[in-house]
Structures are given as C-alpha cells and as structure tokens.
Amino acid sequence: MAAAADSSGDGGTSSGEKTIVLVSSDNSARFEVREAAALLSQTVRRMIDEAGADASGDGITLPDVDAKTLAKVLEYCNKHAPASSSSSAAEAAPPAEGEEDLERFDREFVRVDMGTLYSLVTAASYLKIEGLLNLTCQTIADMIKGKTPEQIRKTLGITSEFTPEEEDEVRRENAWAF
C-alpha cells in the first residue's frame, strides 16, 4: 500500500531507486512499486511514455484492474522484477531471485480460486505482463487437461449451445477419442 511517499509518481525508496505509483480502477488503492517491477507491464511502460514521465504526478490509474487484483499482480511483479531498474534492460535483465525460488513462488501464486484466476489472466492480458500471462494461461490449460467436455463445462460454467447435429458429431468424436 502507498506509504509515506509523496503523491508524485516519482517517489523514491530509501535506496534512492525510482518508484511508480499505480492506482486501482475504483481509486480505492494506491500502490508504490519499484520502477523495475512496474515496467514488467508493457501497458504501464506505454502509459509512462505517452504521459511523459508521469506529468500528472498523481500516479497512474489502471481503469481495468481492481484493487484486490492489482495487489496480487504487483506481488508477482515485485518477485519477478529485475535487480537493476534500467528501464530499457528491464525485460532482458535476470530477476533478482533464483530460478528455483521463482518456480516455487509461481506454483504457490496460482493456487487461487477460479474467480481470482480469471481476474489475474485478464489483468495480465490488459497489463501485458508476459510472464504472468504465460503462468496464468498455463495454469488454466493444466486445469482443463484430462477432462471430458462435460467436466470442462461444469468447471467453467459454460453452456455448449450446440445444435443436435453438432452434439452428435461431438459425441462421436469423443467416443472415438476416449
């Protein structure tokens, strides 16, 4: 949560590293994060470029991400952010943590209910955070594997809307495949 940093987006940590303030959609929460973490989001990166070094000084509002989701997303970004915060090298620089440690973190990170997972994958897509998008999509894929069509529909609350002929074809396909 936003601490005692000044309201301008260009805050600083005690180590003097640049920080960015991100604001959730309902304006209910402000998060001050290291620039390196925030720039994992291509969307944030673009917004900063367009706004010109955060001219408004009020932090960057993300209209499509609510507070709870943003908090969780930033948990990911903070963990995966590179050690150096030089913006151009942010993607290429290795993260500060070790790889095994990250894998363990990722596994735990996606142990959430379906609603949260949904919010995460859509947020990752909107914010264009490649690693998080990969992680969430893969998690959903793993959840789907091994299930029959009916089980998938039940898990995700989807209705099929097939015509009777299409249903027959699907049934035949699955009878043959399983």
Binding site: P63, D66, A67, T69, T122, G146, S160, E173, A177
Partner: protein, 399 residues
Amino acid sequence: MSFRSLIQDMRDEFGSISRHSLRSRSHRSAGNASRAAAAGPSEAMDQSCWSQLPPELLREVLVRIEASESWWPARKDVVSCAGVCRTWRGIMKEAVRVPEVSGKLTFPISLKQPGPRDGTLKCFIRRNRTTQTYYLYIGLTEALADDGKFLLAARKCRKPTCTDYLISLDKVDMSKGSSTYIGKLRSNFLGTKFTVYDAHPPYDGAVVSKSHSARVVGLNQVSPRVPAGNYPVSHISYELNVLGSRGPRRMNCVMDSIPASAVEEGGKAPTQTEFPLSSLDSFPSILFFRSKSARIDSSTSQSSSSDRLVLKNKSPRWHEQLQCWCLNFCGRVTVASVKNFQLVASDDNGPGNQENDKVILQFGKIGKDLFTMDYRYPISAFQAFAICLSSFDTKIACE
C-alpha cells in the same frame, strides 16, 4: 482467399474489436470480482465469467493445450476442448493443422485426410480370425506394436458374388446405417479386383455409384441430406507376375480421388475438412470441402486413369543366398509373407521400381495376426487401411 487466411483475418478483426470491448468487459468482471471479494467468492459467479473470457485469451490457453498434448493418448484433450462449445470448437479446429503438415492425428476426420509429407504415420493392424474383424491402431511409441490408439475397424461380410469389408470408427458397430460407418472395401468374386468406397464425397464433383446409375454431386449443391453413399475412391487389382505363383504378385491401385500431380512438386491432394452433418430431419447443410484437386473427370471408368494417381508395388529383389524375395522394410516388417508390400507412385508406363521413389504405403507381418502399416501423403489412413485389407483377402499367389 484460403480458408486459413480468412480465419486469420477474422481473428485480427476480432482482436481489435475485443480490445475495445475488453475495457468494458473486464471492468465489469473486475467489478464483480471486487464485489465478490467483499461478500466472499461464490462459485456460481466464479464460473459464469469464464464464458466471457476474451477469444484471444481463450486462444492462448487452447493453443498451449494443442501444442503440449501432441500425441495419443493425451491428444484426446484437444478433442475434448473442441467439444466444449462453439467458440472453443472454432478456435481449436483452427489451431489444429492437418496431418499432411503436422504429422498428427487429432479428430476422426484426420483419418480421411492425406498423411504427412515428412515421414510416415506408423500404425499396426490386429486381426481377429474368429470374428473376421481387423482393427487399425496408431502406435503410441516407437515399438512395432503397443497398446496403440484405436483408429478404425473393419469386418468381413461374405456375399454370394462378392465380399465386403465394412469400415467403421467404432470397434463394435460396423453397420452401414450407423454414423460411425465411413466406407468399405468390396472384392470381386475371384478376389482379384477390389474397389474402395467412401461413404462420403471425397471431393466436389464426386460421382455417387449406385447400382444402375451415376449421379454427380454438384460443386455448391445444397443436398437435402447427405446419404451414406458409395463413392469409389480407388480400384485395386492383383496379378501374378511372370513367374506365376512362385513369384511376388503385382498390385495396381488406381486412386480415383487423387490426381497424379499430387506427388509432383507443388502438387496437392483433396482434403476433406468435415464429416457432413447428416440427419434426415435437419435443414440442408452446405457441403464444404477444401478440394484442391485439379478438375477430375467425373466418370469412374478405369480407362480414364491417366490423370489419376496410380500406385504399384515395389518389386522385391531375389536374394540368391537367402533364396527368397526381399524388400527393405526398414525394420518395420519382421515375418516373411506374400501379403507384405510397399506401394510407390508409378510412372505411367514403367513398373514401380525406382529406388528413389518414396514408399507411400508399406504393409507387413510382424506376428501372428499382427501387421504394421505405415502410410504417408497423399493417401489417408482410411485408404491405406482399405488397401491393406485387400492384401489379406486376395487369392492371388497365396501360400
């Protein structure tokens, strides 16, 4: 415009549309999620949002599944996803490439599509002598035969003047009226000539073979229903060679549905993309085949086979020391049998003897009632299976 580029265009369109609506959509669902966080997540609400997952995100998930579940038995997950709902089906069907390109079998229709251009699909056939049934499987591993993934079954039906092998997607139900029936092999009385019939039109302009008349299925004709017809797709004949029954027999397969140009540089073979949805009561469905074949003469007479692909068996070499006829089966055939063969595309005039020719279909014995079948472009698993069945049945040069 090819079908694939049409889908790509639609996808690009869709992508830009949903980017606009993503804001409102995810805002709404984000709103839901935050309300849920306050009230405690309810499962029903969690579930309903998934049907609103933007298509490009759904695609991200589905292509991961398609890429990782590349072989059987895991490949069934791809089929499962394609059976969830219309949207999933559309995305998955577009993500799956035809066997010709991918070397993978996915949906039942894959069995009617040409095999891979690179490499072969290694299958095996189990024979049950008691029930006169044959089962085609694709291997799960590099072993000659293993548990396999079931592909097709065929049952022999003897009739007064001929014999039929009915081919089906179902191990048990092989009746012609069933939706799993996909074609048959018919042999003449002497067991020297065979015709392979497809239950569905192999390409636009295919001729339906009825007992006394021929009816052409039009290019864009909307059929009131799709009959499980008899569309001849190949003619196979067996002959003794000059040494009589002491030598290997000669096989000749005219592939009526495949142009000779298919095996040339840049050639293409007809590829079915859907089983026609057939229902006596349904509204007419438009037959849609991605037929890339050259215009094919609609008559099925064997005399006009000059523009059709002809396959002949590679002549074995006489091995003086071993005193037997030999073909190089590359380890895939281990028991000598007159049934064993390798088919290559033949020149119009010459015998199928060129060493450089790719073997399009290879069949041979590996055990009692167990045979391998390796096939590749331009023939399909269905056609390959039917040709192999003829090798079981023919009376020419039997041991």
